[in-house]
């Protein structure tokens, strides 16, 4: 994983995004107005937050398919809490959402760590369980805007320096991940576990525990997004964010995060999410039916994974860095 190796992948993706935006802007200049770009970013913020959580999970050779269900369950729980206790201040709600999300992530992580059940089976199972629990606690009822308190709904929309709080949270999460992945022992452990689990054990890293930590992070972010999602759209019901887990995985794959583990970057996840977000927001602008979105993101995943595979294959295994530059 040389510096130039994974940087160039992000440069290409960034180039593709600029090209995409440029093509849209050439026919619809209003799309690149700063206010619209800020809207697109705000709209993509939940995807960015979740993609970063998913990134660390995928880097440790796992996958978290339960993020959308976790988001929906946490969202429903805090919305119900808000209807029961409208005076509860937002910081409490945030803490509860993050805590609840972490707990669900912890459950995934423990099943993977302590029982060594394959991650895809665990999260496939917890995905349906979490969704079902929403129905159990809500009785299938919707919680609508008029049942939520004003402070609960307005928090993600409030603007600081002309950007909504939702966007600021996404920016903070990105910065936190830059530090976590690049500057902490846990961040390095994620890559060590994903790159070579056996070697990680010999360097004193507990593989299962590290994977569990990744799940807790992913769960915490899903919980956080759960509150933000419900508050932003001012509605909570069983099916919110249905199928969103695949969009999150797609953002990671497009961002060059290897599903085999060990390879990925914060920038990649961010760009992958932005790419999907721009496509989603641009379709109505350029008068293409939103029904095209699914096929386009599917094609983007396939192209991205094919591209990543061919670019990584040609590199081969280089043991001596100096020899590589010498030849």
């Amino acid at each position: 994983m040389t510096w130039s190796g994974w940087k160039s992948r992000e440069v290409i993706l960034a180039g593709a995004i600029v090209l995409l935006v440029g093509m849209i802007a050439s026919r619809f200049p209003a799309f690149i107005a700063p206010s619209n770009l800020a809207n697109v970013f705000n709209d993509t913020s939940p995807l960015i937050i979740l993609a970063l959580g998913q990134m660390v999970v995928i880097v440790t050779r796992c996958i978290d398919l339960s993020v959308a269900a976790n988001l929906a369950l946490t969202g429903m729980a805090v919305a119900m809490l808000n209807t029961a206790m409208p005076d509860l201040p937002v910081p409490f709600i945030l803490a509860i959402a993050i805590g609840l999300g972490s707990l669900m992530g912890l459950l995934n992580g423990l099943l993977v760590w302590k029982l060594s059940i394959p991650p895809i089976v665990v999260t496939l199972g917890t995905m349906t369980i979490y969704r079902g629990v929403i129905f159990l606690i809500s009785g299938g009822e919707w919680i609508n805007a008029h049942e939520m308190s004003d402070s609960f709904k307005s928090f993600p929309r409030e603007t600081i320096l002309e950007l909504p709080v939702l966007s600021w949270i996404a920016i903070l999460v990105v910065l936190a991940f830059v530090v976590l992945v690049g500057r902490t022992a846990l961040g390095r452990a994620f890559f060590a576990v994903g790159g070579n689990p056996h070697a990680a054990v010999y360097t004193g890293i507990n593989v299962g525990q590290t994977q569990c930590a990744a799940y807790v992070i992913s769960g915490a972010l899903a919980g956080l997004t759960g509150y933000l999602w419900v508050a932003r759209y001012a509605v909570a019901y069983v099916d919110i964010a249905g199928g969103f887990e695949l969009e999150v995985v797609a953002a990671c794959v497009i961002g060059g995060i290897s599903i085999a583990g060990g390879i990925g970057s914060v920038g990649g996840a961010l760009l992958g999410a932005l790419f999907l977000g721009i496509v989603k927001n641009a379709l109505p602008v350029i008068n293409i039916s939103p029904f095209w979105q699914l096929a386009i993101s599917g094609s983007a995943i396939i192209i991205a994974v094919a591209f990543n595979a061919t670019s990584s294959r040609s590199k081969g295994r280089v043991i001596l860095k100096k020899a590589e530059h010498a030849t």
């Binding site: 129905f135 794959v253 029904f291 699914l294 599917g298 094609s299 061919t310």
Partner: protein, 338 residues
């Protein structure tokens, strides 16, 4: 499964001196355990609701799993070989959309069958080429084609639906062969036998296990790994096409959201049936029993007016429990010995 406890009490992998019947009995016991669950579910259901033990009700209940199980058989082979196909439900959507389009063009029933299976084969071939030809991970490829195939359905149909299927087409999803035995159930049984023979009684089946256990070793033994996997993707695509024919015929209409989320139920069925998600182990009888368990649970809960989403909790718990419980038991046993 050659995991045994040695004298020191720690668990490690040992190679048995010879293949003996206890090993085979251990393999059979997963199916036996599952069969026990099936019998328990059946018995509990018949006590819970007076309407359960009715030939026609039970016949209707088989529709809960027949179409999914047909895909699950092919999926079992694919998972045993170490790959996975998450696009099966989307293949149903695309095949069904193509059949609906063919109806608008004035196609008759025989052409519809060809279109359904043909589109399934094409989709399977597309997955197969991407996975075996380009060497991409199947889970990512099929997450991509899952969006792509259903996305094409959405592009074609949008918020509309295709209807007006010919009346002779209705037989595949609504017809009865004899008394309460539906055509779909007969098809399910025939495919179960077919896939059981292919997996357990042919050299091709042995190749599937060999590849799943050690793809590199299989390659060095002269097995054309890529070709076998490609055939398995084709088979899975074709079975999704067959399921699309049955489902479209049963519903009599095509919407792009048809069979949404089925890929997870199919995978659950396969894993519940004792197929290792990591590849290399599993059996068709196990998948057949798992299909019955899931179908009976869904049907029994339905009779008790339990909403579908609560059933899905149960299916999710079942999926984790059947894998977790033997592991917990093994850990407890190991601790007891040590």
């Amino acid at each position: 499964m050659s995991v045994t406890a040695n004298e020191t009490g720690s668990i490690e992998r040992q190679i048995p001196d010879r293949l003996k019947s206890p090993a085979q009995r251990f393999l059979a016991s997963w199916e036996l355990l599952l069969l026990g669950v099936a019998v328990a579910v059946f018995t509990l259901n018949s006590f819970a609701s007076p309407y359960f033990l009715d030939a026609w009700n039970l016949s209707d209940a088989t529709y809960n799993f027949t179409e999914k199980a047909m895909i699950a058989f092919a999926m079992a082979l694919l998972i045993i070989s170490g790959e996975i196909d998450l696009s099966v439900a989307s293949i149903i959507a695309l095949a069904s959309t193509a059949m609906g389009f063919a109806v608008q063009m004035g196609a008759d029933t025989s052409v519809l069958i060809l279109v359904g299976v043909g589109v399934g084969l094409l989709c399977g071939a597309f997955n197969g080429v991407l996975v075996t030809g380009l060497g991409l991970p199947s889970i990512v490829v099929t997450i991509g084609t899952m969006s792509l195939f259903r996305g094409i359905s959405y592009i074609v149909l949008g918020d509309k639906a295709y209807t007006g299927y010919p009346s002779s087409f209705a037989f595949f999803g609504q017809g009865y062969v004899w008394w309460v035995v539906s055509f779909e159930f007969v098809l399910f049984v025939l495919f179960a036998i077919f896939f059981a023979i292919v997996l357990h009684r042919t050299s091709f089946g042995r190749l599937v296990y060999a590849i799943g256990n050690n793809p590199v070793g299989a390659l060095f033994s002269g097995i054309q790994v890529a070709r076998v996997k490609f055939v398995l993707f084709l088979l899975t695509g074709a079975m999704s096409g067959v399921a699309a024919i049955c489902l479209t015929s049963r519903l009599g209409a095509t919407r792009p959201s048809i069979a949404f989320g089925w890929e997870l139920e199919v995978v659950t069925m396969v894993v519940l049936g004792g197929v290792s998600i990591l590849g290399g182990a599993g059996s068709i009888p196990g998948v057949v029993i798992a299909a019955f368990v899931m179908g009976m649970v869904t049907f029994g809960f339905g009779l008790l007016n339990v909403p579908g989403i609560v059933m899905s909790i149960f299916i999710g718990l079942l999926l984790i429990a059947v894998i977790a419980l033997p592991r917990i038991a093994r850990q407890v046993l190991a601790r007891g010995r040590g």
